[in-house]
Assembly symmetry: C2
């Protein structure tokens, strides 16, 4: 087999003494992430993690999916609903009931009860129609707005006036006069988790969720709420057989993947611990610049740009020293 | 289960009398494709198709993947090599040996012979390092260049100065003076098939191929040759278990997916027949505009733009009248 893109990927994911030696003076995205000081990493609160355990696969292997939930100000009631549903163990015994290639897998109430919807817990929020966050510019000096939300020069966006990262999340921006942010919203990338809904004005409760398993469906931005992203176990969703019914829903219950349990990370005996590379750190700035301008032993032509969904925010398990 | 994005997808993929009625005056990408006249569809020559038959899956179901090969001027010797390899039945008995989530699956010589490379057929081309096509502007009037390769206004590109479609394929452009195309190249999207290679100046023979199974890895453009795209059976590649060895290579031969055969479409008793929506047709122009500005019963906020990999070229089996 050819080393290929195998080589490229090895360079990205694995510490390779050979490659590190070859281009000691040519940083790669991986070398920058590996070299980022511990102080540039931000711990993720286990209360912001959702741990979904699927039934073991055909070989009896465990399947665990970990989702990081969207923080304020974009959480807007949906994430609180998801926490309520998780605490009520509402998803336990339900299923992944839909899978569409290059689109989404979706889970929740797969009509296990023969078409009778499972009752929702009380106290769920009715969520506003839009996931926008509009800036109250007068509330803070304009320079702060620019510093906080300034678009990254490497990012060229087809779906928003510009794009950036806020607190570790990819964000679309509407901008006035080239400088002032008017509106912000989270965007759909590979691995993003969103809230399934019926036709507008329905906005979904958060009980039915999907994960993106293909090219970023950015046309969904601002139309459906993004409430998180898969940070571990993505392969347990992306490799599920595609459904052959209408809209990729499985035709038989036997094809559904049972959900054993969904729990908040802080409810587990051993809370999962992850950290992300601060998107306001110098390390992330260097990572973005090098990612947009690849120049190393494998890449000969740098693109000069990158899209916001291809600049993956580095996330890793916390290792004890 | 919520209709969700199920509804959106149904609207995109299925003829839905309800939705069609609701927005009779609001075209969707699907309604435009469905309404495109037969004359806007271009037949794909079966000689440009590669039919890969994988071993049946665990349930004994057949797995067939059909790949459309890249035409001139971008084929540049690689595609001829692939045709030579297919005619020699070189891939028969080899395997899919690598799968990396949100990256690629890769096939060819998975060292079935215990590390001894399978000999290649004679007569393979040595392929030039770059997949660029530089324009000989003097050869045709400047207005022809503009008409032929003018970027689509809906497409905003992060990786090239602009992007368009040539003969049904997504293409990156380098442009001078805002009008004159200097250089063109095919781009990596979901489902694109490329030529695995070792470190440059190696350019690969075409014997080891990969298909993109995640967000468009556009940083590979101009660095690795794109030689085709999967047009049917993509799920047989995208759902393969991810490899757990270095760079996603499977750790054991038992995990490989055997390739039963790879044949050119015109060598089969029943040649596969497909057609694509002409990317220079009025139908495609309308499809692009509506895709970039969704406004229907599901989508409330149009993005105002789209990226070249999200504007999928419609391809369908030819149906006899």
């Amino acid at each position: 087999m050819a080393a290929l893109a195998a080589t490229a990927l090895a360079a990205m994911l694995l510490p390779s003494p050979l490659i590190a030696q070859e281009k000691a003076e040519k940083p790669t995205p991986a070398s920058i992430v590996q070299g980022a000081p511990k102080t540039d990493w931000v711990a993720i609160d286990p209360a912001d993690l959702l741990v979904m355990t699927l039934a073991p696969d055909a070989d009896g292997k465990d399947r665990e999916v970990i989702i990081q939930l969207m923080p304020a100000p974009f959480s807007k009631g949906w994430v609180e609903n998801i926490q309520t549903l998780a605490k009520a163990h509402w998803w336990d015994g339900l299923s992944v009931y839909r899978s569409v290639d290059n689109w989404v897998v979706q889970w929740g109430d797969g009509e296990e009860e023969g078409g009778t919807p499972k009752p929702l817990p009380t106290g769920l929020n009715v969520v506003p129609e839009s996931q926008y966050v509009d800036e109250t510019v007068a509330a803070k000096p304009e320079e702060d707005v620019i510093v906080l939300w300034h678009p990254r020069p490497e990012l060229v966006d087809a779906y928003a006036e510009s794009a950036t990262f806020n607190d570790g999340w990819p964000i679309g921006l509407q901008i006035a006069d080239g400088t002032r942010v008017l509106r912000r919203w989270p965007v759909h990338c590979y691995g993003s988790v969103g809230v399934a809904r019926d036709l507008s004005p329905d906005t979904g409760t958060g009980a039915e969720l999907y994960a993106v398993i293909g090219h970023a469906p950015r046309q969904l931005d601002r139309n459906i709420a993004v409430v998180g992203r898969v940070i571990m176990g993505m392969q347990h969703l992306s490799t599920l057989p595609r459904g052959t019914g209408d809209a990729g829903v499985y035709e038989t219950l036997a094809e559904h993947t049972p959900i054993v349990s969904v729990r908040l990370g802080n409810e587990l005996a051993e809370a999962p611990r992850f950290e992300y590379l601060s998107t306001s750190s110098d390390s992330f700035a260097a990572y973005a610049e090098v990612s947009a301008n690849r120049d190393d032993s494998f890449y000969k032509v740098g693109a000069g740009g990158i899209d916001v969904c291809n600049l993956r925010v580095p996330i890793r398990p916390v290792k004890d020293d």
